[in-house]
């Protein structure tokens, strides 16, 4: 057999899972990803749109950073997205696929709006804010509780259930908006005359409260999941319900409690959006953030600090894309491609952080 001299065909690439990777390597991979993204994008920009890539990148950057106002708006939009991500974290950590954030936010927003419409100007402002807050927490919690209870009690599929609850919420909001708008074509801002229930301006921005709340919650949720007994229970239930039962954890109770928290925080987001950002309600109040936040929560592996980074990246890209479309009169599909490619490369780099690729050795002669 010593004579057998044949060229061995080896697979060209083999994918091998990495065991662990140093922080430096992670950073290098990510930086390389961003550079590659910028190069690939530059080719797209140059050959498809005929623009100067560097100018386009500058404009993209300006989408968030050219003025302090734009930066604050980016922060405001980040706050909504991040808040929902934070709200989803405990549910997802429990492996409860709550895809109903959109609906939970809407219900919170609707409750807030209802309080503004029916009690605005009739009760003192402080009381009004409290009522708005409580109503939104309750409405969001209810929208989380219902699928949680069904799951705990009847083992219903929570993904479908929460998804369907979104549509129910959208219809309820559409119905209320239709009632409130009366003969007008649209609802417009609520309490436009009295401004009752609008958040006070802090440093010139009504949404400053939103930023403060989200900042506090980033830390609070991190601590809740990492250090609290509840957080521990959530982790155990998420890993294995059998283990949880073995440990004496009341699985149903944890599921319901966590969904109430998740829903209530979504409701809180609705409150902040209506009071601090929109001062009105529509079926678009959550604006798809309820779904985008799923990506945020997942990518960050439920770490709220990573969530903040990822939310920022998403907001930066969307603002950049919008600015490119506006500045160059580009169709926004083109600018979305530019932003999307960057996102693609950055997400793609996760693969290289988790896996190693073995290149084919130069085809070898054996003995």
């Amino acid at each position: 057999m010593g004579e057998s001299k044949k060229t061995v065909r080896e697979p060209l690439f083999r994918i091998v899972k990495r065991d662990g990777i140093s922080m430096t390597a992670k950073v290098i991979i990510r930086v390389v990803a961003v550079l590659l993204a910028l190069i690939a994008d530059a080719l797209f920009i140059y050959f498809v749109t005929g623009l100067n890539p560097l100018d386009v990148y500058k404009v993209m950057f300006q989408g968030t950073f050219s003025t302090s106002m734009r930066f604050m708006w980016a922060m405001r939009d980040l706050a909504s997205l991040l808040l929902i991500g934070i709200a989803l974290a405990p549910a997802f950590k429990m492996r409860f696929w709550n895809v109903g954030a959109e609906g939970q936010v809407l219900m919170g927003a609707l409750a807030t709006a209802a309080v503004m419409v029916y009690y605005g100007g009739k009760v003192p402002n402080a009381l009004l804010y409290i009522a708005m807050l409580v109503a939104s927490l309750f409405a969001g919690a209810l929208w989380g509780f219902i699928p949680g209870w069904f799951r705990a009690r009847f083992s219903t599929n929570e993904t479908l259930f929460t998804l369907m609850m979104n549509y129910v919420a959208i219809q309820i909001v559409a119905c209320c908006v239709n009632i409130w708008r009366g003969q007008a074509s649209g609802l417009g801002k609520l309490n436009m005359k009295t401004k009752a229930g609008w958040f006070p301006q802090i440093m010139g921005h009504r949404f400053m409260i939103n930023l403060i709340v989200v900042l506090v919650l980033v830390f609070a949720m991190y601590a809740y999941l990492r250090y609290s007994k509840h957080g521990y229970e959530i982790a155990v239930v998420g890993e294995s319900e059998n283990t949880a039962r073995y440990a004496g954890i009341n699985v149903g109770k944890v599921i319901i409690r966590t969904m109430i928290i998740s829903g209530a925080l979504c409701g809180l987001t609705g409150f902040l959006i209506v009071g601090g950002r929109d001062q009105t309600i529509s079926t678009n109040t959550a604006g798809g953030d309820g779904f985008t936040a799923i990506i945020v929560a997942w990518l960050a592996k439920f770490n709220t600090f990573y969530m903040a980074l990822i939310s920022f990246l998403l907001i930066f890209l969307s603002k950049g894309a919008a600015e490119i479309a506006s500045a160059y009169n580009l169709n926004d599909f083109a600018s979305d491609i530019i932003a999307g490619m960057i996102l693609f490369f950055i997400l793609g780099s996760e693969f290289f952080i988790n896996y190693r690729i073995h290149r084919k050795h130069s085809s070898k002669e054996v003995r």
Partner: protein, 412 residues
Amino acid sequence: MKKLIALMLAAVLCMVACVAMAAELKVGVILVGDETEGYTLAHMNGIKAAAQSLGMADNQIVWKYKVPEDQTCYDAALDLVGQGCNVIVSNSYGHQTYMVEAASEYEDVTFVAMTGDFAAISGLSNFKNAFTKIYEARYVSGVVAGMKLAELLSSGELSAEKQPNSFDADGNVKIGYVGAFNYAEVVSGYTAFFLGVRSIVPNVTMEVMYTNSWFDIDKEAATAEALIAKGCVIIGQHADSTGAPAATQKLLDAGNICYSIGYNIDMLPTAPTAALTSPTNEWSVFYTELFSAAMNGEEMPADWAKGFDADAVAITTLGPSCAEGTAEKVAEVEAAIRDGSLKIFDTATFTVGGETVTSAPCDLSFMDYSTMTAIYEGETVEAIVDGAFQESTFRSAPYFALRIDGIVEDAQ
């Protein structure tokens, strides 16, 4: 001599200032859609035409596309202010509450909420509304439809024997209308259209069906088909897609007797034999006035509304299916509208509940219906003056909301 020099200097300075001002004009445009959507495209074309005729440079206009009617609009407005725009225009009705908020914060910038309805009562001098008298063009398009109807009836092509469901119990010919929403804007439009038809063929009845959307090609097509199935011979529309004309063409080809009056754009490419004409806005007329006023430092009125008098409205090319003599009739009617001898909403031409209308009080307040309070108090005006309903005179946005006899609104 000194005086002369001073005078010349002043003149030069003035010229420099004027040129500087022209150069200084920067327009921000907030659009609800983009070029793929007919309504927005019409505005874009109007703005571009105005800019061209005034010799403005490309970088004097900053565009914001696909801005929804929410806080995004306010952001866009402030962002445009930040970019140095001194005139900011939004093209959708729902933008106005956000525009007015921005207007209250930036008094040196002129904000124009197209199709809006409370500029005059907002108390802000830098907040404007504008609308064309599109109902005039709708009336004329009704005349075109009426001519066709008359031809069909007199030639015997359309008769109770051939298409029995096209006639109601009283022998009136049925026509249909695809409306977007039941707002005054639409009511005003279809009433004008109906009166236009009836000015030619007295015994008509019209059914209006709503799609509850400004742009929904499938729904508009389905609505047109439903109306034709009920026997409607003419399909008018106040919705932005080509759905209705396309559906009408399809059914015409299938042997039905049905014709279409479009909106905004020439529908002949979509419906070569079914389309008769479309009423359309000439937005460039307004934008030219707006931009040149800004350049010259002149003040625009809080409400701007013009029609045939300024060629701000028109009808598109008459289709090959139009009846003989239509062009002449159209010219005659347009002239009558221009010289004021024809009033569209002449109370002698319609009744409400069988009665001639003698009084139509209109509350111009901008209401918050959720709390039933007025956001901006406006006075209640008497719209019937000199035997006609005075549309678009007390404010630019339409307020004709009477439901006249002969038109049936489909229950929603």
